[in-house]
């Protein structure tokens, strides 16, 4: 099935190459990522996280082209692009202080209203968490705090790097439910990196499969309801 039959294109990657020293991290990657929820799946070291970081210009490719909504990615100002296409990285990534200070910081950068209560609720945290010290949070709470911090910037695309990799099954299910609800409530697009093909089925409608830095498959998924 061709993507253009599936939905509007968000990102187009053509012949994207990236090397670190002698190692080819991404090798002639060509893929389309549509509006909606996409999973980038593959084993460890496949280049999934690097591909995600390319999408909001935390890194640029050595060769090839990437476009976002039909415009070359490198024509966007990296700072405003990162507020529109928000990456939630793997831990640890919160600033020292409370969850509230983290949310205020992100809101100020994006010149948005720091509505911590709404963002915490969207991320599945009680508003009381605003005053909690980030050093005293569980891994699952940190993950949700990072999500709340990203949401205050009102992004159009969320890039999620293995959002449940460090969680037990119960916490994982809860985060997945939050992500599914976000897609419904905010009509936000999600690009999710996961090593778990089952998770891709639960959260995404489209997948890009990577192995050894190359695309080994791309296409629609039959989403399994949570």
């Amino acid at each position: 099935m061709r993507l253009r039959d599936h939905g509007a294109v968000l990102f187009e990657l053509r012949d994207v190459c990236l090397a670190r020293g002698e190692r080819r991290v991404l090798d002639s990657v060509g893929a389309d990522i549509p509006v909606g929820a996409t999973a980038i799946v593959g084993p460890s070291g496949a280049g999934k996280s690097t591909l995600l970081r390319l999408l909001n210009r935390l890194v640029d490719p050595d060769r090839g082209s990437i476009s976002y909504r039909g415009r070359p990615l490198d024509s966007y100002d990296p700072l405003s692009l990162r507020r529109e296409v928000s990456l939630v990285p793997q831990l640890p990534a919160l600033l020292e202080g409370t969850i509230g200070t983290n949310i205020d910081y992100a809101a100020k950068l994006a010149e948005k209203r720091p509505d911590a209560e709404r963002c915490l609720r969207l991320a599945g945290l009680d508003p009381d968490f605003a005053g909690r010290d980030v050093a005293k949070l569980s891994v699952g709470e940190q993950q949700r705090a990072m999500l709340a911090r990203a949401l205050v910037q009102e992004p159009q695309v969320l890039l999620l790097d293995e959002p449940t990799s460090a969680l037990d099954r119960e916490a994982r299910d809860a985060i997945e439910a939050t992500l599914a609800r976000l897609q419904d409530e905010l009509e936000i697009s999600i690009v999710l990196v996961s090593h778990d093909p089952e998770q891709a089925l639960r959260l995404a409608e489209w997948e890009v499969r990577l192995d050894g830095g190359r695309v080994v498959g791309t296409g629609p998924l039959e989403r399994v309801p949570l």
Binding site: R20, N56, R57, L58, V59, D60, D74, P78, L79, S80, L81, R82, R83, S86, L87, V88, P89, Q90, L91, P92, A93, L94, L95, E96, Y105, A106, L109, A110, M146, R149, A150, Q153
Partner: protein
């Protein structure tokens, strides 16, 4: 105020007994430092004797051009020495060179402009040497810490960039900690001066027979000047060097 004393070569030679004692301690406790003690003793003798003659010539010539040349050499060697302590910082030499030059020029310029010292070789050479030496230590410590910060906090810095922060905003906590590290040693030693140790200038003046009040006042002038120079050096070095960790597109460079 008495301004000169005579120290004979025999007096210097006599203190080699203490060097021998240091070597003996090392040998006895197998610290394996005898060779280093020997090298340190010979180098200090050669370097200080050479600089002593150079300073004598500069004092006699008393031209500001020669003072400028000597201070420039100190700044360049200071930056090269400090760079070896800041190996994790990309291209650390230029930030260090500019930090030392700025600290030296600003501090000496201010003490001359405020009428504390006359703009002559007799004042500018020793004060410049102290200012540049302390600025070198402070900026080396600051950049050493900055390199460790970027190695340890890489994930957090990139996560902040991912929120749309500029490189400067993302690096701010690391730069703040590096600046503190560079300045804190001198601040602490200034707090304890006179209680735990006597600074070298004061000791030298007292030995030379100066009035203790004069010795104390001169030492205070130098301590305060050094605080300023250390702050300027650490500020310039960290402000310039942190940019070398980022690309123009506000990305962290690969290490």
């Amino acid at each position: 105020m008495s301004t000169s004393i005579h120290v004979s070569a025999g007096q210097v030679a006599a203190t080699l007994v203490l060097v021998a004692l240091a070597a003996a301690v090392s040998f006895w406790r197998r610290a394996d430092l005898e060779r280093d003690i020997g090298i340190a003793t010979v180098r200090s003798f050669v370097q200080l004797t050479a600089i002593g003659y150079a300073i004598k010539l500069i004092f006699e010539a008393d031209t500001l051009a020669l003072v400028f040349v000597l201070l420039t050499v100190m700044v360049v060697f200071g930056a090269l020495t400090a760079r070896s302590r800041a190996k994790k910082v990309p291209n650390a030499f230029w930030p260090l060179l500019i930090a030392l030059a700025t600290a030296g020029a600003t501090t000496l310029g201010l003490v001359v402009a405020l009428g504390v010292f006359e703009p002559t070789a007799r004042y500018l050479v020793p004060v410049g040497g102290m200012v540049i030496g302390n600025a070198m230590t402070a900026s080396a410590v600051a950049l050493n810490r900055l390199g460790d910060e970027f190695a340890d906090s890489r994930a957090r810095i990139e996560a902040t960039l991912a929120l749309g922060a500029t490189a400067q905003q993302a690096a701010a906590p690391s730069v703040r900690r590096a600046l503190r590290s560079g300045m804190i040693t001198l601040i602490d030693s200034t707090k304890t001066t006179g209680l735990i140790f006597f600074p070298g200038t004061m000791v030298g003046m007292l030995l030379a027979g100066a009035n203790p009040t004069d010795a104390v006042r001169l030492q205070l002038i130098l301590l305060y000047a050094l605080l300023g120079s250390v702050a300027i050096a650490a500020l310039v070095a960290t402000t310039m060097a942190h940019r070398n960790f980022f690309t123009p597109a506000q990305q962290l460079r690969e290490q």
